[in-house]
Amino acid sequence: MKNGISILLSRIATPTRVGPRDFIIVAVLAAVAFAVPYFAGTYQQEVGFRILQLGALAAAWNIAAGYTGLVSLGSAAFFGIGVYTMAIASNAGLPIALCVVLAALVAGLFALIVSPALFRLRGLYFTVGTLALAEAMRIFVVNSPWFGGQAGIYLTARAPKAYDLYWIALLIAVFVVVCVLLLLRSRWSYRMQAVRDDEDVASQLGVRTYRTKLWAFGLSGALIAIVGSIQALNQGIVQPNGGFGMSWTIDIVSVAIIGGMGTKVGPWVGAVFIVLLGEFLIQFPEIHLAVVGVVLVLVIRFMPNGIWGTLTLALQKNRNFS
């Protein structure tokens, strides 16, 4: 088997240039989404929260994996850091907004600490390394005396209402989108893609590859931690198997791949698809995961650019023909 990750990466489409139009579209969509709680019930708000949460996670993961080629299976480590930072900091009496910022900072610091070891690994080895790291973090939290062990930590803060959570998630989702768009407009976008396509050549053209990877990996991790910190508010209790659970990593990867890795819109399309599919199959939890798995396999086999990547490529072809 040729390195599966390199095959997956080799199929990523070239991102289109980011212009003012993108920001306008985001503003319009955000305005529409903002209005949802005024005419939708609690159930719809919860589904909306889940879509925004998974979309933001996948979009954040996409910064490292899709644009920089750092395909990480360690998202759960960053997510868990966000979850636990919120629990500990808010229980210590810090304001919620500050806790969210703190979650991002701790995650960024964590990326800085683990990068010397992780960045020695490339390709598939990097991926496996991040997977091991996330598991190590989970086991560390279970066994160390500071984080409440298996039982976890209860949040003393009052649980927010469904619509509050929805609006917080929307705010964070918009923040992630704007981060991605600004990044794609900046010179970092070339550096990240160059490192993804050929790290050695990038270095020979003056790109400080280590710095570029750290920036992408750290930003991606910090954004994932921010989403994680909100999940702590949502749950009211944080536990190692929930916060640092593999299921987050797997959800993120499936959403990004099904939607389209290395595209701006793909993660959001994937999130809508996965969440709605889950709601549709809610009566049949036993086949839910199997269906998601089959869809993932089919997408990788037949739509290697994901739903969105395949759509845009098809549209481009039509444009060329007309």
């Binding site: 990523i12 070239t14 160059a194 396509d197 003056g206």
Partner: protein
């Protein structure tokens, strides 16, 4: 006048092979320095060491009076050292313009957002890439990829430009275009180092030329003097004086080897009128490049064919297409009466064609003995043991070190291992691809002595070589490939007398 770039006793080894052997070199300001030498002489390693992609085992690199040996390649690029790759390596999923923008925004020179676009547009215009600016770089054909390599290196605003074989694989008109571009660069780039096989580029662009062989400097002087030097011609063609018949042959050893070989090769019974292998009008296309353009040849049972040609002529593609390792675009290959086009490499090997691949391809994680066994996995156990003993009696050094890792051998010994491994399948036809590559003259002698014995055993052979005199000393018939086509064909003696042979190497 101090040198812009100075290399002092640089040594770089890979395993047992010394790619650069205490090499010292200076590049003066305003100078264009050519570097030539046969395959495996260490030319690309030299560029890697200057650019910072490779760390030498010893020696220092000084740039503009400053020791840069410890700097990363990114920092060297920012200081003003730009390079291109022999095989272009564009960022395949970025657009052509983004490839150039990347270099422009990461050079040591600050460039504002307002200056960036005109700067990038200017470079694209200059290299004729403007119409393709928004195309994905991975879709470009070879010539445009080569131009993009140059465009990216220029976007760094380099003081020294290192160009690795930008002429390879191009047709004459394209080469002339490149020469014009290189000459136009002289005013803005302080110095250049050009590695080339295409002699037109060297003779028209370079002030001085250095000749490397086995990682050592053979000579360095003004270009016309170097190109007229008989030593240089003999490096490419070998000196005909020490051809095979002057080598002292140990008759007893020969007889032993001959006996061993009988269990290792299958001698095809020659059917009059039908060759063992027939290749009919094969084309092989990679990306936008035609590597083979309608090659036809045939090999009779027991015959030894030499396949010659300069770098990039299509020799290795030819060998690989016989192995089933590259898909044919069109044409047919038949072996012992069966068509083998479209078969997998293992199926081809099972039919009796064994490959001794370029670069030896020894399994480093396996021991020498395991490497040999891997060459004949299909055989029954006692047959395998018998063949193993036979290989050991031909190459006793392999037996002595049979438990060692396959890569813990010198280059020549690794080549013997590769030959032994090819013999383990008891083939009817053996294909040897560049077996003298990167070997010392003594090692080449040893390897070719074994090859002579293998030929005498009556097995059919195709010897793909850059080292002309060796291959011609062995072969019954020879052909020369040039840019994917057979340009010359004949008996070894006729070819050696033909002036066109030298010109197919030196241009």
């Amino acid at each position: 006048m101090t040198a812009v770039l100075q290399l002092e006793s640089i040594t770089k080894s890979y395993g047992g092979v010394r790619a650069l052997d205490s090499l010292s070199l200076e590049v003066a300001p305003g100078e264009v320095l050519g570097v030539i030498g046969p395959n495996g002489a260490g030319k690309s390693t030299l560029i890697g060491v200057i650019g910072g992609a490779l760390t030498p085992n010893s020696g220092t690199v000084t740039f503009d009076g400053r020791d840069i040996s410890k700097l990363s390649s990114a920092d060297r690029a920012r200081l003003g050292i730009g390079r291109t790759y022999q095989i272009p390596r564009p960022f395949t999923r970025m657009t052509v313009a983004d490839n150039v923008r990347l270099a422009a925004t990461n050079s040591g020179h600050h460039i504002s957002q307002r200056e960036l676009e005109p700067f990038v547009a200017g470079i694209l215009e200059r290299l004729g890439l403007t119409p393709f600016a928004e195309e994905v770089a991975g879709k470009l054909p070879l010539l445009r990829r080569k131009r993009l390599e140059l465009a990216r290196a220029l976007a760094l605003k380099p003081r020294v430009l290192l160009l690795d074989e930008i002429g390879a694989g191009l047709v004459r008109a394209e080469t002339e275009e490149l020469i014009a571009i290189i000459q136009s660069l002289r005013t803005e780039v302080e110095s250049m180092v050009l590695i080339e096989h295409v002699m037109d580029v060297i003779s028209q662009c370079c002030d001085r030329t250095a000749v490397l062989d086995f990682g050592k400097m053979v000579t360095i002087d003004e270009t016309p003097k170097v190109l007229a030097d008989p030593v240089v011609a003999s490096l490419y063609l070998g000196s005909v004086a020490e051809s095979a018949d002057t080598v002292v042959v140990d008759e007893e050893k020969r007889a032993g080897i001959r006996a061993s070989l009988t269990s290792l090769v299958s001698v095809a019974t020659s059917v009059p009128g039908t060759p063992l292998l027939t290749v009919d009008d094969i084309w092989v296309r990679y990306g936008g490049l035609n590597a083979l353009k309608g090659v036809s040849l045939s090999v009779n049972a027991g015959e030894c064919i030499a396949l010659l040609g300069a770098n990039g002529a299509g020799k290795t593609t030819m060998a690989r297409s016989l192995a089933g390792a590259v898909p044919l675009t069109s044409g047919t290959i038949s072996f012992a009466g069966k068509s083998i086009a479209g078969l997998r490499p293992d199926e081809v090997t099972a039919l009796g064609i064994a490959q001794c691949m370029e670069g030896r391809k020894i399994f480093g994680t396996l021991s020498i003995e395991e490497n040999l066994i891997a060459g004949g996995l299909d055989a029954r156990k006692h047959v395998k043991a018998e063949r193993l003993e036979a290989v050991y009696s031909i190459f006793p050094i392999l037996k002595q070190r049979r438990k060692n890792s396959g890569t813990a051998l010198s280059g020549g010994q690794q080549q013997m291992l590769a030959i032994g491994r090819a013999l383990m399948s008891a083939p009817t036809l053996l294909v040897f691809d560049e077996i003298s590559l990167g070997l010392s003259p003594i090692a080449v002698d040893e390897v070719y002595e074994a090859l002579g014995a293998i030929r005498d055993s009556g097995v059919a052979m195709i010897v793909v070589e850059q080292s002309v005199d060796r291959a011609l000393g062995l072969a019954d018939r020879a052909m020369v490939l040039g840019q994917g086509e057979i340009t010359l064909e004949g008996k070894p003696a006729e070819l050696l007398a033909d002036a066109r042979l030298l010109s197919s190497y030196l241009g």
